[in-house]
């Protein structure tokens, strides 16, 4: 199981409390993880990735294991600790002030 932490707006939007546990068949990549997440929660389609390009939305970042994975290739394998569930995959919204 891969643990995913969503920003609060998306947790509320999808009626999620706390972390999400996502099971993936095949290679665990950003793409397969987000595909699985959107299958479980269809209301998240378009909120993390652009619907037409499938690119990460510009004000979101992907962090895990003290690393910024935002610019990793969508088909690159996730870190082992994320795949094993030892560390969560964090989807983080850009900080806005003012």
């Amino acid at each position: 199981m891969i643990r995913v932490v969503l920003p609060s707006h998306l947790r509320k939007h999808a009626n999620i409390n706390g972390e999400v546990a996502v099971e993936i068949e095949g290679p665990a990549t950003q793409q397969s993880l987000l595909d699985a997440l959107e299958r479980i929660y269809p209301v998240l389609r378009g909120t993390i990735r652009d619907q037409s390009t499938q690119k990460r939305r510009p004000f979101l970042r992907f962090f895990a294991c003290q690393r910024d994975l935002s610019h990793d290739a969508p088909d690159a394998l996730l870190p082992d600790d994320v795949i094993r569930g030892a560390q969560p995959f964090l989807i983080v919204g850009a900080i806005a002030g003012g």
Binding site: H9, L10, H13, V43, G46, R57, L60
Partner: protein, 371 residues
């Protein structure tokens, strides 16, 4: 018992205000979708409990919400707005070609007769239709495919399709407006479109009377005479007596004819309302006095309405989708401000009161008159 429901979209959520027919005491519910920008909400004329809302965010994109119980509960429907075919390009601010990119839904217009059919006006400008209550969307691409499309340019707020008017006497006819392309009309249910901007003059354009390029802020019509259109342009209040084939200016004695909103009295087709704004550089009321101006003659002769509105130190704006009228007698008139106030008049504009003071900046106000 008659009641009124106001649907208020703001920068940080939606609010629903309800009152009985006296329209003196208001109950406020919300925020719905707290933290999201709600550009517009609108109820179906065919089923007032069916309400659609455009929910968007610079972070998380576009959502469309549907309520079947008058806004008590909501359900997200489809949010896929894919342009038909190869999107092509329009002009960017600097005049270079720029690919069409979907950003958000500015305006939702439910069908007059079918609660499951609705239209969405989007940025970058295009018109979408759903026939299944938002489960799927398809572009009416004849509009964007109009030959002038590659020459459309965004206004400062983005290249948005913000006004959709359905002709109650002719189901095949529809009017839309785009900033900054102008107004367009279809007479065949959305398959083909023609620009309807003859008579408009916009000094900021290289050719001030060009067929397209005008920054139309809002169109309005009265259901009893849908060939008469009113327009608040960037500057100028305009009128057409021939469904947009030609326009003439009716700014008359307005102290400034810049503004965003325009609307028509529910029972008097020649009574119209605007909120003049100082200028395109200073988006607030002239002299810090918030005044609705009313014409009972279809334009040209205007009177200021001030009773109950702040007449000093008021520097808010009233955005293009933020005025509406109910159908009670006397006609109710409502508008929202970027300062978070929603003002209402239960006597056609003679007197006003703030229904709520301190909401986030108001983007849109719609009203439902409920039996």
């Amino acid at each position: 018992m008659t009641s009124v429901r106001l649907l208020v979209g703001t920068r940080k959520g939606a609010f629903v205000l309800t009152s009985d027919g006296a329209r003196k005491n208001w109950k406020v519910s919300g925020p719905h979708f707290a933290g999201w920008e709600i550009y517009h909400l609108k109820g179906s004329p065919a089923d007032p409990n069916r309400i659609y809302a455009s929910q968007s965010s610079n972070w998380f994109g576009q959502q469309i919400q549907k309520s079947n119980d008058g806004g008590e509960t909501w359900e997200a429907v489809d949010n896929t707005f894919a342009y038909d075919g190869v999107p092509g390009t329009h002009q960017w601010y600097d005049g270079t070609p720029h690919p069409w990119e979907f950003k958000r839904v500015w305006h939702i217009e439910p069908s007059l007769t079918d609660p499951d059919m609705l239209y969405a006006g989007v940025e970058d400008a295009a018109l979408f239709q759903s026939k299944d209550a938002g489960k799927t969307w398809a572009e009416l691409s004849g509009l964007r495919g109009h030959g002038s499309g590659p020459h459309w340019q965004p206004g400062a707020g983005g290249m948005c399709l913000h006004t959709i008017l359905l002709d109650p006497k002719n189901p095949k006819r529809m009017f839309i407006a785009i900033s900054a392309a102008g107004a367009f009309r279809t007479d065949d249910g959305g398959a083909t479109w023609r620009p309807i901007n003859r008579g408009l003059k916009s000094e900021f354009m290289p050719d001030p009377t060009a067929e397209v390029g005008h920054c139309v802020h809002r169109l309005a019509l009265h259901p009893s005479q849908p060939d008469v259109l009113y327009m608040q342009k960037h500057w100028d209040v305009m009128r057409s007596n021939d469904a947009g084939d030609s326009w003439h200016e009716v700014s008359g004695n307005l102290p400034t004819d810049f503004g965003f909103v325009i609307d028509v009295h529910a029972h008097e087709p020649e009574t119209i309302y605007v909120v003049p704004i100082k200028s395109d550089a200073e988006h607030f009321p002239l002299d810090g006095q918030l005044r609705v101006w009313r014409s009972r003659t279809g334009g040209n002769d205007w009177e200021p309405l001030t009773d109950g509105l702040p007449q000093s130190n008021c520097y808010v704006n009233v955005l293009r989708d933020a005025m509406c009228v109910d159908t009670l007698d006397k006609c109710g008139v409502y508008f929202g401000t970027t300062g978070g106030q929603v003002y209402g008049s239960a006597d056609a504009g003679d007197t006003w009161a703030a229904l709520v003071h301190d909401l986030p900046p108001v983007l849109s106000v719609e009203v439902q008159t409920l039996a």
